[in-house]
């Protein structure tokens, strides 16, 4: 299995830089706040959008997550990464939003809604077959429950360990593992009839990398 960091996103800050920026933000430095926003906004937005599947909502949640993080920097423990804390806040805001929407629309699951962002440019050069499979994989991911989807995204996209996922989602580690494993089970069930032999699809992985 390949465990790689997401090379295509913005370069991640070192712990030292992160600490320095946080100390400066505490003193009221706006430039440092901007730097921290720019360093995290793409990754955070991708995660939140995958959970909510709506651009406006995702941007609103991301903005609020940054503001809350900056507003309570004195309660931030430097032993954790800022990104872990930021994703935790954003995930809770996502859950709150989903709950509010559910209260308004009944038990409607966001994942069942068609995405409003169908016009996104596809920057994934690939064959027709690879594109079809990639879409099927994302559809299967969208059908996962919210915690399962979050666990899968944090594991694969953010390269988090089960322990870090547990901290980010504020759940016990055993539950985080369970979400991840059940998610894989669901993905397997959703995708198993699609291709006779997945092992010859090295082209998909090659195209992805």
């Amino acid at each position: 299995m390949i465990r790689r960091q997401a090379e295509k996103s913005a370069p991640r800050l070192t712990r030292r830089t992160e600490k320095r920026l946080i100390a400066q933000i505490s003193k009221g430095c706006e430039a440092s706040a901007r730097e921290l926003v720019e360093a995290h906004q793409d990754r955070l937005f991708a995660f939140v959008w995958r959970v909510l599947r709506n651009r406006e909502d995702a941007e609103e949640v991301c903005q609020e997550a940054f503001l809350r993080a900056f507003g309570s920097l004195d309660s931030f423990s430097p032993e954790y990464r800022f990104s872990t804390w930021l994703f935790t806040i954003a995930y809770r805001l996502c859950l709150n939003l989903i709950r509010r929407r559910r209260a308004l629309t009944g038990e409607l699951d966001f994942a069942e809604l068609p995405s409003r962002d169908q016009d996104v440019s596809d920057r994934f050069a690939e064959s027709e077959e690879a594109r079809r499979l990639k879409d099927k994989i994302w559809e299967a991911v969208d059908r996962l429950s919210v915690p399962q989807r979050a666990a899968v995204l944090l594991f694969y996209r953010e390269g988090m360990s089960c322990d870090q996922i547990a901290r980010t989602l504020s759940i016990p580690m055993a539950t985080a593992k369970s979400h991840l494993h059940r998610a894989r089970g669901k993905l397997r069930d959703s995708l198993s009839g699609l291709v006779e032999d997945w092992s010859h699809l090295e082209a998909l992985r090659e195209a992805a990398s």
Binding site: K27, D42, F45, W49, H181
Partner: protein, 250 residues
């Protein structure tokens, strides 16, 4: 060689990166011989690769950073009051704690020390000067007696309590210090904001002689940007700034 059932039980641990090297080798060996497990594992790996590397999500709006920053600046403008209250609490709470401690000491401590009551046959320590006055021939025995006198039970309690209080004191002092630092920072920020307001108003005033940020640096205006410089409202250099100050109370 492991069976398919056993191999599938290992999939999650393998994909989590938690499988021991020996079991990994077993799994790979099985994978080479079993097309079904090979395909299933390849499918799960493909899922991971697509989630990791495919960026088909929309990107965040170009104006997002600016929007966050303007909301941040606007929220911060409302924060000083909360920060002031918090800093005041940090300073006040140790003082309140110290006051209650003092009260407790006053209430708990007896007015006059009560000597242990002695009955006939008890031993008691005799101060040196008394022994000398009485011409005590055996000071060694008296010293021995001093050793055997039991401590008052309260003494141990008081000692433990004092140690505890000592700990609290360090803690509360450091919190108070942090509170004072916060208050100092707020004062500094308030001075800077006032300075900005003054300079902005000063520049827009049509008839006044222009005083600039450079003047503040040069010393024409009070340099309240500099830490440790105390600013008083009577210091502005001319009538215009004096007027602005009155028109724009802090």
């Amino acid at each position: 060689m492991i069976t398919c059932e056993h191999a599938r039980q290992l999939f999650d641990r393998y994909l989590d990166g938690e499988l021991s090297p020996s079991l990994q080798a077993e799994l790979h060996a099985h994978r080479l011989s079993c097309s079904l497990c090979q395909s299933e594992l390849a499918m799960l790996e493909a899922c991971g690769d697509v989630i990791l590397l495919d960026r088909s999500e929309p990107t965040v709006s170009a104006s997002f950073t600016d929007r966050v920053m303007s909301a941040y600046v606007s929220r911060r403008a409302h924060q000083p009051r909360r920060r002031l209250v918090r800093a005041a609490m940090m300073v006040a709470s140790p003082m309140a704690a110290a006051a209650s401690l003092l009260l407790a000491v006053v209430l708990v401590t007896p007015d006059t020390p009560q000597p242990p009551s002695l009955v006939a046959g008890d031993s008691a320590s005799v101060p040196e000067f008394l022994r000398n006055m009485a011409g005590d021939p055996s000071p060694g025995e008296a010293a021995e007696e001093i050793k055997v006198i039991p401590q008052m039970p309260a003494a141990g309690f008081m000692q433990a309590w004092i140690t505890e209080v000592d700990g609290w004191t360090d803690d509360t002092l450091s919190r108070a210090r942090a509170g004072f630092d916060e208050l100092k920072l707020l004062l500094h920020e308030a001075r800077r904001d006032t300075h900005d307001q003054l300079v902005a108003g000063y520049r827009s005033a049509p008839e006044s002689e222009t005083a600039t940020q450079d003047d503040a640096i040069e010393g024409t205006l009070p340099a309240w940007d500099l830490p440790g410089t105390l600013w008083s409202p009577s210091e502005p250099s001319d009538e215009a700034s004096q007027g602005l100050l009155l028109d724009q109370p802090l």
